[in-house]
């Protein structure tokens, strides 16, 4: 690990200034991913700006949304009474991720900004466009069992990237149409989840639409009707402490066995949480039934394409969608 300077500013404004004015400075919160990246020599900040003590640790009920401060720990969100009552999908997604120890360190903001776990990204002996733009994508012709099936062009650009985003929380936030609050030295802005992450295209090194020095201060989740009929399904290689092969966040508003609104998002399948808009549309207004769920899953899979080792995702993903919908709807 490279030697670095460590600073602990006392205000949000000061923290943002420190990073915005120095391209080699980085925020650090829980550090559960950044420290790994530094150990591997992938991140080599000259200055670490510790934001852990900044006043971004509240979970607050606002008019028609819940605001969760960026520094609230994953474990705090997952066990928070109000979250459990109004947004149980969030708790389910968080508890499906990492381990108890990590959830006790990791923050909400940090969770959203964690980097992919693609092995080609972490080992500097391999090429990786996300690590060194233009060096090539190791996974494209390599071992791609964990990689994307959505958001990948028919002929993937060798300068692009087929990695997936590893966060479970962001999949749930995407289904719940949360907004990310960020603050930069030019002021505040609100980024809808749908616009927060990017597809790799020709700039795979850029995971999000954040600008340098912008700090996530909170996420806001609209009060919704998704208390009763939600499910986060995570398919993985072991029972706990594994990244998703495929995950599905399903949220339904059901009235008298009829679906008023449906929200679906998937993890482990794309460079960002993958909203299933077509499937959602298809489900709206339908009576709850496995047949309908199956049709929605088929619609959701349009445009998916596999590489050498991840064709199984094309089979698992629709099953997972149906299963998540069934569990959300209470169909057994």
């Amino acid at each position: 690990m490279k030697a670095f300077e460590y600073v602990r500013p006392s205000t949000i404004r000061e923290a943002i200034e420190l990073v915005a004015t120095n391209p080699k400075a980085q925020f650090i919160a829980g550090g559960t991913n950044l420290i790994d990246l530094m150990k591997h020599g992938i991140a080599a900040p000259e200055k670490l700006v510790d934001i852990n003590h900044l006043p971004l640790k509240k979970i607050e009920k606002r008019d028609d949304f819940l605001r969760i401060g960026a520094l609230v720990l994953n474990s705090e969100v997952a066990s928070h009474k109000r979250v459990l009552a109004s947004h149980p999908l969030l708790a389910q997604a968080l508890n499906a991720g990492a381990s108890g120890q990590l959830r006790n360190m990791a923050t909400v903001g940090g969770n959203l900004l964690q980097r992919t776990r693609c092995p080609y990204f972490y080992d500097r002996a391999f090429p990786c466009n996300k690590r060194i733009p233009g060096s090539g994508c190791g996974a494209l012709g390599g071992i791609n069992r964990m990689h994307a099936i959505f958001g990948v062009p028919e002929k993937p650009d060798p300068k692009s990237c087929i990695a997936v985003h590893p966060s479970d929380l962001s999949v749930a936030l995407s289904a719940l149409e949360a907004t990310v609050l960020v603050q930069g030295h030019r002021g505040e802005r609100q980024i809808p989840m749908a616009d927060f992450y990017r597809l790799p295209n020709n700039r795979p090194e850029q995971d999000t639409t954040l600008s340098n020095g912008e700090l996530i201060t909170a996420v806001e989740i609209p009060d919704a009707v998704f208390q009763k009929h939600v499910h986060y399904l995570k398919v993985r290689d072991r029972a706990s402490y594994a990244f998703a092969l495929v995950s599905v966040a399903a949220a339904l508003d059901i009235d008298q066995n009829r679906i008023k609104t449906a929200r679906l998002s998937m993890g482990g399948v794309a460079h960002k949480p993958w909203r299933l808009f077509d499937a959602e549309k298809m489900l709206t207004g339908q009576a709850v039934s496995e047949t309908v769920f199956r049709q929605a899953a088929e619609a959701a899979m349009q445009g998916a394409r596999a590489f050498e080792h991840n064709a199984y995702k094309l089979r698992v993903a629709p099953n997972a969608i149906v299963q998540a919908l069934k569990l959300a709807a209470g169909l057994s």
């Binding site: 080609y120 391999f126 071992i143 069992r145 398919v235 290689d237 029972a239 706990s240 698992v316």
Partner: protein, 749 residues
């Protein structure tokens, strides 16, 4: 969390781990934790290519970095005295040459140490390591087992040794297979798997003088490490001291002395300070061996009634380009079942990878996955219960050596296992059992492991205060060696375990084998037994010689000793204390050292441990996820010395077997000849949530032919067969036969 039940009742309460408190309070000192004021830190730089040569090393930027004491490579190494002079130009080492660290510019595998930075602090060494610039000249490498399989051959080692067990083996009638009533042929693959103990390998090397070396090194055999280092550095054995008192797991990764250990010794020599070197998790994948990628073809013939008439078993394992690693892959098949006609073939495939090594149940865990899967396939083909098929082919004597077993209670293991598991509730048809929308499968497999006993010494000392010290250069990589040995000593001497101290893990102690091959209890346990018996006899003779001693007229076999108090017989109320005897004779201590080893019984009996595993899995028909719900395991390993530690040993073996069956796989990108699974995020081992209730049973009958304590080894047999039992259960649940481990979602959906 595993929860082992104990039935039948424990014959006597198990001694708790003698070092348990030290371990859970952090008071136990592991190799990397020995404090030295002037400790320097070494960091290895490893090759990023799989084959070729180092064209250039630019160490200047690293040498100029803060805190750096040395940058060592083949260009400036102080040299290992036992290495032959380097040839110019460098030539590739012939097969059979152990890897030589910093020897010449040749690259044999990705992850090979090519340079090392030594600095004042670890962080300085790590940073400087990133500044060393290395240019390679690459050559075409071959790391892909499947693509190169046709080049596999009989090992050179085997070609030279006509009595090698890995010679082609044929018994009986070669036409038995083609003419069998029922035939089956299948190919089974196990991927490369890594030991990955939680404690990484680590060493602190200290040159006490120019000709005197001490190492605190994580390994499984202080005596073999001592011999190896003495030879490498051309020192008399007694000038090398190896200490490895506490080991945080090893599973075979610490049997050899690996290049990083030699590297640290070189570093300490170069900088003239104690040097610590700890392998990072990613280096643990290329530095300390692994279970080799192995492909096995099994063909079986049987009668319609399920009597095996022929088995052929061909195994091909991966090894490096410079060494041959042979393991027992095909050997179990010769001894396991009563089959007249058996052929085995064993081949090796040299690839541009580092050398594999023994990993828990080496060869047997691999071979029995294939054999016991094939048995299950045969049972299905015959419409016969898998357990019944095994019973019908039970070997009442060793069919390979034509010798009686020293002891064998496998049928009793089957009975206990089947009953405790509820095997009778298994519906024969695959996919016929369900629970909560999940497919339920029951599977079973047999296990066996050869008996190993090596010459071992132990010293037993009775001190004037009545406390006892037992010493042997044996090891504890986790099973609880000190606890079991203390229990053996306490039983013989009639002394409370609290008064006994057992010393191990130090090369200056009496000679003992390393901890491998499930040989510790059988070998060292026997030596401790013999030493304690000799000590007791000596003390009794001394006691009887005291004037008016109540022991002078006692019959030796009637003497009863409790808490250090010697009674001439069970009825007697008067007694003599051990301490009285030493006091009378004015002795500060009385000691005896004994060596214990096998005798002619090795040629009269065939010696194995036996056992079986019963597994229930639940498989999601939707996602293909497999979870093990229940395991019942039963072993016949002779006398159980300590039920509690034995049970833990069995649980650990089953956990390892579940990992082997369902998740462990080191995946290589063959374009680079480099692993893409070099961390715990991608190399999966089971977590608590993967481990269900595991019930452990033992037959617990002493094997009177093997050694004075009647105990056989347990460490390896605990894992042998588990992967097959899981795979068989998955077949029963799903109707899908997975012959390539691990059994992951992608293979089931």
């Amino acid at each position: 969390m595993a929860n082992a039940h104990l039935r039948p009742a424990e014959p006597e309460p198990s001694l708790n781990r003698v070092d348990g408190r030290l371990k859970v309070t952090g008071a136990a000192t592991y190799s990397a934790e020995y404090p030295f004021d002037n400790l320097a830190h070494a960091v290895l730089i490893t090759s990023t290519i799989a084959k070729g040569r180092i064209a250039n090393i630019n160490a200047k930027p690293a040498e100029a970095a803060p805190g750096v004491l040395a940058v060592i490579s083949h260009k400036n190494t102080p040299g290992v005295p036992a290495y032959p002079p380097v040839k110019q130009p460098a030539e590739r080492a012939p097969i059979g040459t152990a890897f030589r660290v910093f020897y010449d510019e040749l690259i044999y595998f990705s992850g090979q140490p090519v340079a090392m930075v030594v600095a004042q602090t670890l962080e300085q060494a790590q940073h400087a390591a990133s500044l060393v610039e290395i240019d390679y000249q690459t050559e075409t490498h071959q790391t892909d087992f499947v693509a190169n399989r046709s080049t596999a051959a009989i090992a050179v080692n085997v070609q030279r040794n006509k009595t090698s067990p890995f010679q082609d083996y044929d018994r009986g009638d070669p036409d038995a297979l083609p003419s069998a009533e029922v035939k089956l042929e299948a190919t089974y693959t196990i991927p490369t798997q890594h030991h990955q103990p939680l404690e990484p390998h680590a060493i602190i090397a200290v040159w006490e003088a120019d000709d005197k070396l001490t190492v605190y090194d994580k390994n499984q055999g202080v005596k073999s490490a001592q011999g190896n280092l003495a030879q490498a550095f051309k020192l008399p054995r007694e000038q090398v001291k190896v200490n490895a008192q506490f080991i945080g797991g090893a599973f075979g990764s610490g049997i050899r002395v690996w290049p990083h250990t030699v590297a640290a010794v070189l570093a300490a020599k170069q900088v003239k300070r104690p040097v610590k070197l700890v392998l990072g998790r990613e280096l643990m994948f290329t530095s300390v061996g692994y279970r080799p990628f192995t492909v096995q073809k099994i063909a079986m013939g049987a009668t319609k009634t399920g009597i095996l008439t022929a088995i052929t078993h061909e195994g091909t394992g991966q090894t490096s380009a410079y060494e041959e690693h042979l393991e027992r892959t095909i050997l179990a098949t010769r001894a396991m079942y009563a089959c007249l006609n058996v052929s085995t073939r064993y081949r090796l495939l040299n690839l541009d990878v580092n050398t594999p090594t023994w990993m828990r149940g080496p060869g047997d865990a691999t071979g029995m996955f294939a054999l016991e899967s094939a048995l299950d396939e045969l049972a299905f083909a015959l419409q016969l219960d898998p357990l019944e098929l095994r019973l019908r082919n039970h070997a009442d004597a060793d069919p390979e050596r034509n010798l009686p077993w020293s002891a064998k209670s496998l049928k009793e293991c089957y009975r206990i296992g089947a009953e405790e598991f509820g095997w009778k509730n298994r519906k024969p048809e695959p996919r016929s059992m369900q629970a909560d929308g999940l497919l339920v499968g029951y599977g079973m497999a047999s296990s066996l492991y050869g008996f190993h006993r090596h010459p071992s010494k132990a010293k037993a000392v009775m001190q004037a205060d009545g406390s006892v010290v037992i010493q042997s250069a044996t090891m504890d990589i986790g099973p609880g060696t000190g606890t079991a040995m203390t229990q053996i000593a306490a039983r013989i001497l009639g002394v409370s375990p609290k008064k006994i101290r057992f010393d191990l893990g130090d090369s200056s102690l009496p000679d003992a084998p390393g901890q491998n091959g499930s040989a510790t209890i059988p070998s060292v346990g026997s030596a401790v037994h013999d030493a304690c018996k000799a000590l007791k006899n000596k003390l009794l003779i001394l006691g009887a010689s005291m004037p008016g001693s109540i022991l002078s007229s006692a019959w030796p076999d009637e003497i009863v000793i409790k808490n250090g108090r010697i009674y001439p017989n069970a009825e007697s109320r008067s007694s003599v204390l051990y301490t009285d005897i030493l006091k009378y004779h004015k002795l500060p201590q009385v000691e005896m050292t004994e060596e214990s080893k096998s005798g002619p019984e090795r040629d009269q009996y065939s010696m194995y441990s036996f056992g079986c595993h019963f597994v229930e899995v639940h498989v999601s028909p939707v996602t293909g996820e497999v979870r093990v719900k229940r395991v019942v395991t039963c072993a016949d390993v002779g006398k159980i010395i300590n039920y509690k530690t034995a049970r833990s040993q069995s649980i650990g073996g089953v956990v390892g077997g579940i990992g082997m069956a369902l998740m462990e796989e080191s995946v290589m990108d063959h374009r680079y000849g480099r692993y893409v699974t070099s961390d715990f995020a991608s190399y999966h081992i089971p977590v608590h949530a993967d481990i269900p209730q595991i019930e452990v049973f033992f037959v617990d009958q002493p094997d009177v032919h093997v050694n004075p304590i009647g105990a056989k080894g347990l460490g390896e047999i605990a894992i042998v067969g588990v992967a097959a039992a899981v795979a068989n259960a998955v077949f029963h649940a799903t109707g899908k036969r997975v012959r390539e481990l691990p059994i992951t979602v992608d293979k089931l959906v």
